[in-house]
Amino acid sequence: MTMGVQSSLLKDSRFKAWEPVLWLLAFAAPALSPSHALIINEIAIVALFAVSLDLILGYTGIVSLGHAAFFGLGGYVAALFAKLVMPDPLVGLAVGMLAATLLGALASFTVMRGSDLTRLMVTLGVGLILLELANKLDWLTGGADGLQGVVMGPLLGRFEFDLNGQTAAYYSLTVLLLLFLLLRRVVHSPFGATLMAIRDNRLRAMAIGIPVNARLAASYTLAAAVAGAAGALMTQTTGFASLDLFEFHRSADVMLILVIGGTGWLYGGVAGAIVFKLMQDAISSITPQYWTFWIGLFLVVLVLVGRERLLRPWTWFKRPSGGGKA
């Protein structure tokens, strides 16, 4: 019966049948519909960003409105690296991630104390300060005009970043997949379990010997690294970096996206990114002026009706099934 226990423990970490299907679909998409390579690229990047937020928000229970800080730093560093040092994307990616990791480690001390609101504001403040910093260092970052003259070299020395965005899409998708698998492994490991323990009940987590602050720092730093990767992908595939990488609304959007998809479930970030971006793209091409209204309406309905029931209309007029998994 040990197998019983062990297998049901390992059940979660095992791959479900639909997962490979999904990824195959994702990787087929740019080829099947080349005209959407660009939006697919953007979705992949946003998804990665959202997934990184899920690690701290969904699994560790840290609310953050400043996640763009890492996104932006990773982006700027990668772009500057390409401009000033060498144009190789992968090295740039690594450097961008490294920078974000360091910042994350540093910033992790700010999220150890206080209520949700406090954390919300502190993280937000960190993001805004970096924004100001990038603005003031215009000799380096190009200030509010953005950083020009970023020319990326070919990927692996072979694939140029083409106008159709094929290379970009596959680049981003691959990085997304790799980091996703990494995080997937992390959250199903004992380490991941201790994070969830902290999320659920800090007091008890401490009472069973989990060094809470160290764990918080670890997960925050890891999330920062991944967010940095997303930022790096963004600037590398657009060949441009500007202040809005740090903007408050980036952090807000990514949180929306994550919550739409559902937190504490890495695929939530991916789902949210797909739904949100495609919806925005579709609606805003119909009504470029007022698309925000419809997005807003969607969010309101989503919450009022509840995530699950929204997808099962026949349940709308029965009793609420009590809240989304947020």
Binding site: S35, D145, G146, F240, S242, D244, G262, Q289
Partner: protein, 390 residues
């Protein structure tokens, strides 16, 4: 449950992938107009789109046997969005021209696409001098801040304004304005005693204006993106800077026609330099203003609108010249060197710099039949963008 939700999402994705597939017909000529239609720069987008549509209404939508199709996209003034949209327009919709571009970063981010795809890119708003250097395919029909500010720096000393404090928004155009105004003013024997930069999203001008008041210059030179102008002038008056004998001068953005009407008497007498005023006395402009206002429930066209209007003109004419043959380069060639009368007055596209050369007017805010207008009282002919000189 989340699994189900997720599969739904994927399904949705698949669907919309197939739905929004763009197909290009041959005899259409597509203009991809990328503008900030939402967020803080929204007015820019509205004015330009309206003007573009007006031009098409006035001049028909068939040129050189081609049907003109306008594709408007909202970039929410996010550079990466601008770039992606441009890329999609080029790759998927096969647009012949990219146009619009509300803010400098957006234009800068998109320039490489224009170069890569050899698609002419008509900048109708963004006003930082360096944009036209970002790509050989950029053509500008708006203006550059050096143009406007230099003209003012020429006028000021002649009118007893020697000591000036500058107050600009802390971003590309602002810094341009500050730099060139200062240079020219010192060259003309004036002096800038202090240069203040206000954060783009700094809601309250009070402390800066207080600083100005304590500095007691002859005049305050202001550049802020249109919209913030009103606030500056009100607080300028409220703080009693006018009573303290300080003049308010600036580029035309401050007394933006779009809002001038609502600004009230605080705006009276403010001297600005700009390339366009809705009050420009010419038959063409009267017609333009009239029909624009009619078509947009009373909205008064501002310099953004005229930029869009002339941008369309440049595109139309270039299409005529190239007879719709030979892609982007032919079109670009057709755009270079165009000389014509715009609602703003005479203007032409410098063949070398691809930047606009135009008359810059000095205007004073006055009441004309009950409404406030920038009334032109002096003009400096054929101002090139000083930014290109160096």
């Amino acid at each position: 449950m989340q699994k189900r939700f997720f599969l739904q999402a994927v399904a949705l994705a698949a669907v919309s992938l197939t739905v929004t597939g763009a197909m290009a017909q041959d005899n259409t000529f597509k203009i991809g107009l990328i503008l900030p239609m939402t967020g803080q720069q929204a007015t820019t987008g509205r004015q330009i789109e309206a003007a573009a549509r007006l031009y098409m209404a006035q001049h028909g939508d068939t040129v050189a046997g081609k049907k003109i199709q306008l594709i408007v996209k909202d970039d929410t003034s996010l550079p990466d969005a601008t770039r992606r949209l441009a890329q999609e327009l080029v790759v998927n919709d096969k647009v012949n021209v990219l146009a619009g571009f509300g803010i400098t970063p957006s234009a800068m981010a998109t320039a490489p696409i224009a170069t890569q795809s050899k698609t002419p890119m008509v900048v109708m708003a963004a006003a930082t001098s360096s944009i036209t250097q970002a790509s050989p395919y950029v053509v500008r029909t708006s203006f550059t801040l050096p143009q406007a500010s230099v003209a003012l720096a020429d006028w000021a000393p002649k009118n007893g304004i020697k000591k000036v404090v500058t107050l600009v928004s802390d971003y590309g155009p602002g810094l341009d304005a500050e730099k060139y105004f200062k240079e020219r003013l010192t060259f003309n024997g004036g002096q800038v005693t202090e240069s203040l930069r206000v954060p783009l999203r700094g809601p309250d001008f009070a402390p800066f204006l207080q600083k100005v008041r304590d500095a007691k210059p002859d005049a305050l030179f202001v550049f802020v993106p249109s919209g913030a102008g009103a606030a500056v002038m009100k607080q300028f008056a409220e703080r009693g800077l006018d009573k303290a004998g300080i003049k308010l001068i600036g580029t035309g953005d401050v007394t933006d026609d779009d809002q001038l009407a609502d600004m009230g008497d605080v705006a009276l007498g403010v001297v600005t330099s700009h390339h366009y005023s809705a009050a420009h006395p010419s038959a063409l402009n009267k017609k333009f203003v009239e029909e624009f206002t009619k078509a947009n429930k009373g909205l008064r066209p501002n310099f953004m609108a005229v930029g869009g209007y002339d941008g369309m003109r440049v595109i139309y004419e270039a299409l005529k010249i190239s007879k719709g043959q030979g892609g982007g380069d032919a079109l670009l060639a057709g755009m270079k060197g165009q000389i014509f009368e715009s609602p703003r007055g005479k203007m032409f596209i410098d063949a070398q710099t691809r930047d606009v050369v135009q008359d810059i007017y000095l205007r004073k805010v006055e009441k004309k039949d009950g409404q406030l207008y920038n009334v032109e009282f002096d003009v400096i002919k054929d101002v090139k963008d000083p930014g290109k000189a160096k």
